[in-house]
């Protein structure tokens, strides 16, 4: 009797969770289905299956939406900021964590405050103009790097205490310079946290559109997300093409999520739980 109620309870639980899954997945499935329809069938953006598969939507979008160019832009912004961000943040976190002087503790706290603080985009314009970074790709790369620093320092700082200090001392005795010691001995040991930080920041920068919205006026420098939005403005009536564009833009992030899920979830939760 008791076993029976438990079984039916589990059945209901499974049913509920599958309904939740469905609510999450329907918008994604909808985009996938419609990316394969023709212009007329996709105009209502319904769940009906395509009468014929139109894979050419994807090639059309790549050509018409100039996707290749915006793909390279996104890669440049997200890729370069991740590389710079991880290197700068781990160097900073390493010294701040190893030498916990009063001053360094203050600097750590000061940097970590940036996780919550909102960015003042308006006055940032002034800085961008003074430093001649306005409307330039390098400006976006540097901005993304700067925005990543607080969270990256926070996550890496927590991890560095697990790297034994003996290694540093052994390196010093062997006459390593601090830079050499860090890059040849310590940094390789930070790989797990560096991968987590790198993946999170890559996805964050890839998905961001606010920064280019403020600081890039020329469409040829736009990243993929902004290019999709612009494409939607031009081809509102052709949902098949818009859907194909959406898929191509989201694909890199989804692939990274599927491959690096373990790192991403652990990074996003461990950071907050320990916080």
């Amino acid at each position: 009797m008791k076993k029976g109620t438990k079984l039916s309870k589990n059945l209901i639980k499974n049913l509920v969770i599958w309904i939740v899954d469905l609510i999450i997945l329907i918008p994604l499935i909808l985009v996938l289905i419609n990316s394969l329809k023709d212009k007329y069938q996709s105009s209502s953006m319904g769940m009906d299956l395509p009468t014929q598969l139109h894979f050419e939507n994807f090639t059309t979008v790549i050509a018409q939406g100039k996707l290749f160019r915006s793909f390279l832009n996104s890669m440049l912004y997200a890729g370069s900021s991740v590389v710079f961000g991880v290197i700068l943040a781990s160097m900073a976190a390493y010294v701040l964590s190893r030498n916990k002087s009063k001053f360094n503790k203050f600097i750590y706290f000061f940097i970590v405050l940036g996780i919550a603080s909102p960015i003042n985009y308006v006055s940032l314009t002034k800085i961008m103009q003074i430093t001649h970074l306005m409307n330039k790709p390098i400006g976006i790369c540097l901005l993304y790097t700067a925005m990543q620093i607080p969270f990256s320092v926070f996550l890496i700082y927590g991890f560095i205490s697990t790297v034994p200090k003996d290694l540093d001392e052994a390196g010093i005795i062997d006459g390593c310079s601090p830079l050499r010691l860090f890059f040849s001995i310590v940094f390789p040991l930070l790989t797990p946290v560096a991968v987590t930080v790198g993946l999170l920041n890559f996805m964050g920068s890839w998905n961001d559109f606010v920064t280019p919205l403020y600081y890039l006026n020329s469409a040829k420098n736009w990243p993929m997300t902004l290019a999709v939005y612009n494409f939607f403005g031009q081809y509102q009536m052709e949902w098949n093409l818009v859907s194909a564009d959406i898929i191509l833009t989201s694909l890199p992030v989804i692939i990274i999520y599927i491959i690096g899920q373990k790192y991403i979830i652990s990074g996003m939760t461990s950071g907050s739980v320990k916080g």
Binding site: N10, I17, D21, I24, N120, I127, M147, V253
Partner: protein
Amino acid sequence: MTKKQYPFYFVLGALALYLLLFVIPGVMGVYYSFTDWSSYSNDIHFIGLDNFKTIFSSGENYLSYIKNTIGFTIVTSILKTVLGIAFALLLSEGIKGKNFHRAVIFMPAILSMLITGLVFKSILNPSTGLLNETLTKVGLGSLAQQWLTNVKIAFYTIMAVDTWKGMGYIMTIIMAGLQSIPRSYYEAADIDGSNSFEKFRFITLPLLMPSITVTTVLNLIYGLKVFDVVYALTNGGPGYATEVLYTSVFKEFSLGRYGIGTALSSILLLFVVIVGFFAIKLLSREDVEL
């Protein structure tokens, strides 16, 4: 010795970028809040509290943006927390393929809000959208709405879409918190003859408090800074019904009214500082109790 071994120049790169592109604009912004800085003139004059007077005067809409921002923050925080806890509990036992479900529910968190917004705009389209069409098909046509253009409903629609996107992240953090509760507590409660509600009320909930505090802080800070979902779905419309602080900052920026823009941004900063202050207090108290 440690000074030589751990030189401060390691910190300089990160610190310099952070100061230049994050802290200095923030501090400058507070100063510019008290000026008439705009794109129309090259001169910037100190005008005292005039921008704030404008923002808080009843003749303007700014107060409603502040109200909207706070309303959005509170409602989405509650929704995400309640649903996050509910789904985390649901997944905690008797479910096959737990990791698969978690991965699915978490997935929207990694997608671009601008793109998600486009898809939802289509789904919520009053005449051709999937939602109204489905409602009509199953005989609930009376529930069909002008989801994004009705002044009374649009803001709730935005909150719902935001919850759809953000609840998986909160659920994942709660799941990690659930795992840290020892099984033996529940076994002891079983022996005492407690029912499931009592177990939830007296074991799960109190021991989840640290995780809930963290997710609440995350939700509050995210909510106050919200921009993407509003921009993508309604861009503040219909009228000003769904305008929030960060979208109005962008509008002032586009209009070249930088003074008001920074003043609004400074108000946002103040809110976040208040939340941050209580967060630090709460979190440090939690540590002592555990």
